[in-house]
């Protein structure tokens, strides 16, 4: 089937597959990790076959994330380079949230908010991976003194909360910005959508203002 000429290609199939693999592993990590975060969430361990299974599996989910998120990092790091226009865009993000786009600088393929999200997630994942390896008692913790393990446990919990918060924001913005989920599912977006949300990218792709 030929793609609809009225739509523009936004994400390739491999980018989409990679994104959703990260999403699945993120949910596995978030639910299994929350089980140890606070007793409120301990019952979540039942999703993974009990407390001991959750303890065994969580770090291996983390290893999977290293590969999948690593893939996303190398795919999107150049595209996510912050420019002065992106910083300007971020200054007007609050107005956008209220529905006022008059002063919003033109966004490229990714807007400033998406780039900020990317680098925030990269920071969180880096912190989670390093601290997670230190508190992986079955294989690695014996290499580190108790003080380092304690510090890593705090870093891991804090970075985990921030990451869950960021992903919640990411999901909300995808729902709020109508039709954007299509870009990550089918890979294509309508021309009008592209012009509305990513005008600079639209111009680059079509060579026209309209």
């Amino acid at each position: 089937m030929k793609p609809d000429p009225e739509t523009l290609p936004r994400f390739t199939a491999s980018e989409r597959v990679n994104h959703w693999l990260v999403a699945i592993v993120f949910f596995l990590l978030a639910f299994s990790g929350l089980a140890f975060f606070h007793p409120y969430f301990y019952p979540l361990n039942q999703l993974f076959g009990g407390g001991t299974w959750t303890r065994i599996l969580h770090p291996f989910f983390g290893v999977a994330l290293i590969f999948f998120f690593g893939g996303m990092f190398f795919r999107f790091r150049k595209l996510s380079k912050m420019t002065p226009a992106d910083r300007e865009w971020l200054k007007h993000a609050r107005e956008l949230a209220k529905g006022d786009e008059r002063n919003l600088p033109e966004a490229g393929k990714l807007n400033g908010g998406q780039k900020l999200m990317f680098w925030s997630l990269v920071t969180c994942v880096a912190l989670l991976v390093v601290s997670g390896l230190v508190i992986w008692r079955a294989y690695l913790s014996f290499l580190f003194p108790a003080g380092v393990v304690r510090f890593s446990a705090v870093v891991h919990a804090a970075a985990g909360v921030v990451m869950i918060g960021l992903i919640m924001g990411h999901i909300y913005l995808a729902i709020w910005t109508k039709e954007s989920i299509k870009a990550m599912v089918g890979g294509r977006v309508r021309r009008a959508w592209a012009k509305q949300h990513h005008p600079a990218w639209y111009r680059e792709l079509t060579g026209r203002d309209k």
């Binding site: 959750t54 949230a97 913790s141 924001g169 039709e179």
Partner: protein, 291 residues
């Protein structure tokens, strides 16, 4: 420890009161280091009573055998040769769980009921609830719990909670041939230690004192040290152990607040959507692109 206990004051990863209807007398084990001859009868008695058998290890050229605590060896004698103002001294410390009033292991444990504290002060692991994460090891200021290679559960001295609940003293105290290990109510043990300290001071140990560190709100295993001003010479006994600010951050108010924060994010998103509506493609853009 399968028997039901009605004298639990605290339970790991539990936010509601534990079954604590029965109150018991606060107990303590006093280890009089000045009386210890390093015979290791306590190690043997511990393994006998708890029916654990450690693997036969290797000689490392020192008396410490095994060289460290393990999931099977819940107590080990640690030997230090130290130069003091009295010349060369051989300081022997029976290492094991201190049964802190403020137990770092219990604070750190994420598995409900895997660590409990009885009203008599004993801190006990309930291995059937243990998930093997090793957080207790990170939380302990004395480096005591050990994960078993066999079943990945954490083990440590129980202060013979099973014997104590039946009115007996711990196996190590029962067997100690010199009376270096005594057991009773904490009050009596502190009193007894006072008498021993006075005696030691008369004999020239002017710095003799009781090790009952306040940083963990006191312990239910106490040492009587002839050099109480320098606990670290006893094979690294910590001078001022405490659960510490990291564990407080990790296990304190931060997490409920963060959980609430995440919940508020949902509420905020809902309110934003309902007040501002979805972010849709504008009519002008639809028209312009459509042309």
């Amino acid at each position: 420890m399968a028997l039901q206990s009605l004298d639990i004051t605290r339970r790991s990863a539990t936010t509601t009161p534990s079954p604590g209807q029965r109150r018991t007398v606060e107990v303590a084990k006093l280890i009089d280091v000045s009386k210890c001859i390093g015979c290791k009868a306590c190690q043997v008695a511990c393994m006998e009573w708890n029916d654990t058998r450690d693997a036969v290890g290797h000689s490392h050229g020192v008396y410490d055998n095994p060289t460290d605590l393990t999931a099977d060896s819940w107590t080990v004698m640690r030997y230090a040769e130290v130069e003091t103002d009295r010349g060369l001294e051989w300081l022997i410390r029976k290492d094991g769980c201190m049964h802190c009033s403020e137990p770092g292991c219990l604070r750190a444990c994420p598995a409900p009921g895997a660590v409990v504290q009885y009203s008599n002060g004993i801190v006990d692991f309930h291995e059937e609830n243990c998930i093997g994460c090793g957080y207790c090891i990170a939380g302990c200021p004395f480096n005591i719990p050990r994960l078993s290679q066999k079943d990945s559960k954490a083990y440590k001295c129980t202060l013979c909670s099973d014997r104590v609940s039946a009115g007996l003293e711990p196996a190590c105290a029962k067997t100690c041939p010199t009376g270096a290990i005594v057991f009773g109510s904490k009050e009596d043990m502190v009193h007894h230690a006072g008498e021993r300290i006075a005696d030691l001071k008369r004999r020239g140990f002017t710095k003799a004192g009781l090790y009952d560190p306040k940083g963990v709100d006191g312990t239910h295993v106490m040492y009587l040290l002839h050099h109480a001003d320098r606990p670290e010479i006893y094979c690294g006994l910590p001078r001022d152990p405490s659960v510490g600010p990291m564990v407080d951050l990790w296990k304190g108010a931060a997490k409920p607040i963060a959980s609430l924060g995440l919940a508020l994010l949902w509420v905020g998103a809902l309110v934003h959507y309902l007040t501002n509506g979805p972010n849709e493609v504008s009519k002008e853009n639809e028209k312009e692109v459509g042309e």
